[in-house]
């Protein structure tokens, strides 16, 4: 739901569907930045016989804008190649996969990483950072992929030189949200009784529990990402801020080749998916425009600014939860714009909005980017507040995004008015926002996150993951003979 199946067309193309982007300064080495992008939403661990993988005909990218233009200044590009070792077997693996190079893995995948850097004349300097890098197998089960992380993780993290590291492969989905309730008319189970269609209070259920994704993770020196070539130190300077996003490309033309029984691409690459901040396309862009948003570039986001200035969910919350959001209701009816939401997502926050502590402001140009201030030091591991800036932790979302940040709760509260004071200092958020009730009621419930690269947890194991529980009391009863 961060951006899982968020647009009609991309929902039919999971291998090209961006799901999450993270960008944060490393807590163990603050001279480094971690950039993580995920694909393949709702990846079921027991998805044999053809387990999920990156697509060979998709270009995956992680991009940086460091000059405030919304254009690509630096791009890391990933191309994958899959082969079948034993074409006479239907099996993903013909025996236990005891190492990342074990020949019993019948469908190994490798990749190439290329870095593009924009030159002064607008063209790009290109350099291949790594070729034939190994992707680990999917976590099939106890017999096929025993002791998963111990067996594969170290060999799946590759050096790209100059202090850079890269990983690409299956991991547990780090996002968490009560999908079933949130998309059931914006239900928040902790405040169920106050909904216009009331239900009993209960804790939320993480819709991503037991699910995986495919992750590309990079660890890059800060000096390589900043426009100055140095590690910034001024937390209040826009020059300390980079914009991060991920995008996916396919060939413009595709034909099904009846000889190879595969699709073949023709023509230039076109962008079919992109993602920066979590939930922007998901929650703010109308359904009829979502696919267009996926195709457009951040530099052209002025077109979408109106959806941040007038948020549909923010306008509907008072009606969905009568008497819970009276101040928000009054704000909406006053005709004032959600310049706080506009700032968070499209321009960044000026220092004065957050008490002068730091900025994520990159200028007036509207660009939907995940902004990270490279001069803000990371919060000590174990002391983070997963509500990020809203929780008083300036190293968290929306100053970049860490894997532990509860972006669903942050954004629900933001849309409910908690961030209106960023740009309207006289606004008083509704009292309910001073409680802990306005949230979806979930926490992260997948395998433990790692404290080191690549940070996402061990992928859920196909053998050990139980299928979902059927819902009770829905539909017609089954008549059994």
């Amino acid at each position: 739901m961060s951006s899982h199946r968020e647009a009609p067309e991309i929902s039919k193309d999971p291998t090209a569907d961006n799901t999450d982007v993270y960008a944060f300064v490393d807590t163990q080495d603050p001279t480094m930045v971690n950039l993580i992008a995920n694909w393949n939403p709702f990846e079921v661990p027991y998805g044999g016989p053809n387990f999920n993988e990156f697509a060979d005909d998709v270009l995956y990218t992680i991009n940086i804008s460091n000059r405030g233009t919304g254009r690509v200044d630096i791009s890391y590009r990933f191309r994958f190649e899959t082969r079948i070792r034993d074409k006479d077997s239907f099996l993903y693996n013909t025996g236990p996969i005891n190492s990342i190079t074990d020949p019993s893995w019948n469908r190994p995948q490798t990749y190439t990483v290329t870095k593009l850097v924009r030159k002064a004349d607008g063209t790009f300097r290109t350099r291949v950072l790594g070729r034939n890098l190994l992707v680990p197998p999917c976590n099939v089960g106890e017999r096929s992929t025993p002791n998963y992380d111990a067996t594969y993780r170290a060999d799946a993290v590759h050096s790209l030189g100059n202090g850079r590291r890269v990983f690409a492969g299956q991991r547990a989905d780090a996002f968490f949200v009560d999908l079933g309730s949130v998309f059931d008319l914006a239900g928040l189970r902790p405040i169920n009784p106050t909904h216009v269609i009331p239900l009993p209070v209960m804790e939320g259920m993480n819709g991503f529990q037991g699910l995986n994704c495919h992750t590309i993770a990079l660890q890059i020196p800060i000096r390589e990402l900043s426009a100055s070539g140095h590690r910034p130190t001024d937390k209040t300077s826009p020059k300390s801020v980079i914009g991060v996003w991920s995008s996916t490309f396919r060939s413009k033309g595709r034909l099904y080749d009846t000889k190879t029984n595969k699709y073949k691409g023709y023509g230039p690459l076109v962008q079919v998916s992109r993602l920066a901040n979590p939930l922007f396309n998901e929650l703010m862009i109308p359904m009829a425009v979502k696919d267009r948003w996926n195709h457009r570039k951040p530099k052209d986001d002025h077109e979408f600014a109106k959806y941040a200035l007038n948020t549909e969910l923010g306008e509907k919350l008072p009606g969905l939860y009568p008497n819970a959001f009276n101040n928000l209701d009054a704000f909406n009816k006053s005709g004032k714009k959600r310049t706080d939401i506009h700032a968070i997502f499209l321009t960044g926050l000026r220092a004065r909005a957050v008490g002068g502590a730091f900025t994520t402001y990159t200028g007036a140009k509207e660009m939907e980017l995940l902004r990270l201030n490279l001069a803000v030091p990371p919060t000590t591991a174990g002391q983070e507040n997963n509500l990020g800036v809203l929780g008083g932790d300036n190293a968290g979302f929306p100053n970049g995004r860490r894997v532990i940040d509860d972006v669903t709760t942050i954004e629900i509260r933001a849309l409910a008015g908690a961030t209106i004071p960023f740009t309207h200092p006289d606004y008083q958020p509704d009292p309910i926002l001073a409680t802990d009730l306005v949230r979806d009621g979930t926490t992260y419930t997948n395998p433990p996150l790692l404290t080191t690269f690549p940070f996402l947890g061990t992928p859920n194991n196909g053998y050990a993951t139980a299928p979902p529980t059927p819902s009770a009391g829905s539909g017609d009863p089954v008549v059994r003979p």
Partner: protein, 87 residues
């Protein structure tokens, strides 16, 4: 990032052959070779041609990772007739 390459080759003579080179950026208005004379490496590439609106005479021709656009009303007419329904 490869940008879409568009080149109006304007009207192409005769049967509507067009020039597709390994390097997409050729000068505007380059003449097309006669239909019978294929480029020397034409056999190496599969070509995908797309006519979005036959009335314009425009054909988007895609090969490898780039595309060119030509205008050839005669060729478009031939293509349209080839796929016209047979009642």
């Amino acid at each position: 990032m490869s940008e879409p390459v568009r080149r109006d080759l304007l009207k192409v003579a005769g049967a509507g052959a067009f020039a597709v080179g390994a390097v997409a950026l050729t000068p505007h208005g380059a003449e097309a070779a006669p239909a019978s004379a294929l480029p020397h490496d034409a056999h190496r590439h599969e070509i995908l041609a797309h006519v979005k609106d036959a009335r314009t005479g425009r054909i988007t021709v895609m090969v490898e990772d780039y595309e060119v656009e030509i205008i050839d009303r005669a060729l478009v007419a031939k293509l349209a007739h080839a796929v016209a329904r047979r009642d």
